[in-house]
Symmetry: C2
Subunit: 457 residues, 2 copies
């Protein structure tokens, strides 16, 4: 007798889990049903800013695998179908067809929650007005693109200065909008310490993005037609034909919570290392709707990123397929392109470290991405945190030009291996004049950090 | 009473050692004398191909710190002065001024050997003819540039297909020469396995470099004027107005050997982890004249690279200065630019692994350096070796375009941490569409390798 795997959510985690389970178990052994209320499968949400900017021509380019391709592999895909209830006692889910409004219960042997995350919409007057957009799903992206095409106005306001906000600000500039970014934070790119964020500010200002920092949005003014007209703070009002929300996202777990499944402080589902929901042998969860273990802080956090989502799907599919795989946790790596800058971080920033109870030495060094004499060598700033006394690497932030972003991977591996900054000074990193100075910027930072640790205090 | 530090060799290791020792001990505590038979200090030999190609305008650009700058820091620099004897019993060296032929003995308390390496010149007829150039020192580079300017011919032959040979071939093409490369190896870039080298061949052929592989040079024909005219193999003769030797280098240790200092199989000096020559408390050695510990193969090897040379200098200077530092070894990282390709390797190739007594699984995957849908995404090939049974990473080779070379650093750190390929599949590497697919090529390779290990045989 075959088993039935039911998956809620058809993006990275859900469809990776489906594909991997199918690889391990044929259709006569395992039936796979996937519900999603949207129209798309397996897409790159991270690509939306590049679709909006025009770098990527078509939404189809962002789709790694289409519904037809999944169906061809015996995956029963039910799009535009929203799961509204989970009945864990009877192992079944209630789904509603958004077009016909038909509701049906479907039983499962294995259930996978891959419900993702939802952009935060603060309860502001006007927040639901026409012309206010989140950018989380491909459908969100399509709505924004349609909205941009429809408006004749040229004023855009981005609320929030996380990496999605910053990438969207740039995309809107490239679409010909005058862009204002309003954020509570002191500097843009709130995933960085503010001294590093100041470098990003410079690049954004150079692109004529107006930056309003340290400011709380108090409301969104709408016209008689119900469309957005301006974004207000306590001090000022900024005209807006389009508003993009870049304040961050929250795990989409209302459904799971109603079913009694356990969530953590952030609202993300709690799972074991095999991505099974705590207390349930037959329910898995992964991607943007779960909390992940931050290996550096030693704490659970909500870090919604496509990389983790894909890995989770792989691990869940392996588990459901009868194999063995676990997700050990993350170190907090994130990279981004901002105008002509590359921005990267991994591990803990200063505030993260203090919150984790860690004391540290922080150093910041200036170097270049290529040998100093090589044509095109541009400055690169590296900030490194090392634990006091032990000298263990705690985190790295990099802002620079070519080769800055992916250099963070060296630190990500070193964090995973729990290296000290002294050990890092001996790393055998690649060197050739077009790609690096003979002392790679990461090594220069490690030497400075090791010196600070040795000096102590 | 002050001590005297004597250094033989004024490039990376020697001058880093001098600078670091000076930082730790003032001139009244430590006198520092540096001898070098050449004209330059602290230069980037790796930059010579880019100077020859014209990317770098001036030799001065390759000099990190000039003789005057060193002297201003109380370092007694004696250029054009060759050390011809070391008397370890009486702790003194005999040096000859190349201009005056004057010879003087200088005593030392601490001696540093930083004599570098010398291009291999096989004992071929014509090898010493005018128009045949090595490219190891800045003086070599100047001689070649002068030679290129002087000749009216347009035919260049590069002998050898290591990374210096390949970089020089490209530089000569850019200087307007017709370039033929002759090598014993099956494919160019002999630091790679031949299946990966074949990708480099394609790029070189695309640049109109004529590649003669599997061919042994039998002689160099010269004209009545004593100048090179052609390079001969058993089968053919290739016209040559200029010949560049890229066959590799040998540690320059005749002087040290005559003094009875211990060398290894390669002829490189043998040191302990603090870079002190075996059996001597007062003699240090580092850079291209020593053997280094290959942490993956568990063996001593001669790996002449600027990165190690600089680290050695730092460590020696710290030791002489009364501090503590050691060099744990290398994992064999090397990167290079070949035409529009980036080429990288770390750890062991197939032949290296077999020589080390290791059995392995090798996998090769194709991916891209950016998200597949992002403009400019170009193919990237990653080959990965994992030890049979343990699954420990043994080596990685990458050939691709933007971002291929420095991606090797992830593998270099993983090798240092002795990670398994299974552990690597969970690495939290940076992802953003302009810089990486959501599964970084390194992760794709690690997954394939982990699967091969799990399957076993």
């Amino acid at each position: 007798m075959g088993e039935r795997m039911v998956i809620i959510g058809a993006d990275a985690t859900g469809m990776s889990a489906a594909s991997q389970a199918r690889r391990l178990r044929a259709a006569d052994e395992l039936e796979i049903i996937v519900f999603d209320k949207g129209n798309h499968t397996s897409y790159s949400a991270c690509g939306i800013p590049y679709w909006v900017s025009g770098d990527v021509a078509d939404a189809d380019d962002l789709i790694a695998r289409s519904p037809a391709e999944h169906r061809a592999r015996d995956i029963d895909l039910r799009l535009r179908t929203e799961v509204t209830d989970i009945d864990v006692a009877r192992r079944r889910v209630l789904a509603r067809d958004l077009d016909t409004d038909e509701r049906t219960w479907t039983t499962y042997d294995k259930l996978v929650l891959a419900t993702g995350a939802t952009p935060i919409r603060p309860p502001l007057p006007g927040i639901d007005a026409e012309g206010v957009y989140g950018v989380q799903t491909l459908d969100d992206g399509q709505a924004l693109i349609d909205g941009l095409a429809a408006t004749t106005g040229r004023e855009a306001v981005v609320i929030g200065a996380g990496y999605i906000g910053v990438e969207m600000a740039e995309a809107l500039v490239r679409r010909g909008f005058r862009v204002t970014m309003v954020t509570r934070a002191a500097e843009p790119m709130s995933t960085l310490d503010s001294d590093m964020g100041a470098l990003v500010r410079k690049a954004m200002v150079g692109m004529d993005i107006r930056l309003i920092t340290g400011a709380e949005v108090t409301g969104i003014r709408t016209g008689a037609d119900g469309r957005v007209q301006a974004v207000s703070t306590a001090d000022a009002e900024y005209p807006a034909d389009v508003v993009v929300l870049g304040i961050g996202v929250r795990p989409t777990t209302e459904l799971a919570r109603r079913a009694g499944l356990p969530v953590g402080e952030s609202g993300g589902l709690l799972t074991d290392l095999a991505q099974r929901v705590h207390g349930y042998d037959d329910i898995w969860a992964g991607g943007d709707c779960v909390e992940v273990l931050d290996l550096v802080a030693g704490a659970l956090r909500h870090i919604p990123l496509g990389t983790h989502a894909n890995k989770h799907g792989q691990i869940i599919g392996t588990g459901v397929g009868g194999g063995y795989a676990t997700f050990p946790g993350v170190v907090g790596t994130a990279i981004s392109k901002v105008c002509d800058l590359e921005v990267a971080r991994t591990g803990l920033g200063e505030a993260d470290a203090l919150r984790a109870g860690l004391q540290f030495h922080a150093v910041t060094i200036e170097s270049t991405g290529r040998a100093g004499y090589f044509p095109g060598a541009a400055p690169m700033t590296v900030k490194m945190l090392a634990e006091r006394r032990t000298g263990r690497l705690l985190g790295v932030q990099i802002v620079g030009r070519d080769g800055a972003a992916k250099r963070i991977d060296v630190a990500a591996v070193a964090l995973t291996a729990r290296m000290t900054v002294e050990q890092m000074t001996a790393l055998d990193l690649g060197y050739a004049p077009p790609f690096s100075p003979v002392w790679d910027p990461i090594l220069v930072a490690a030497r400075a950090a090791a010196k600070a640790v040795a000096r102590g205090h």
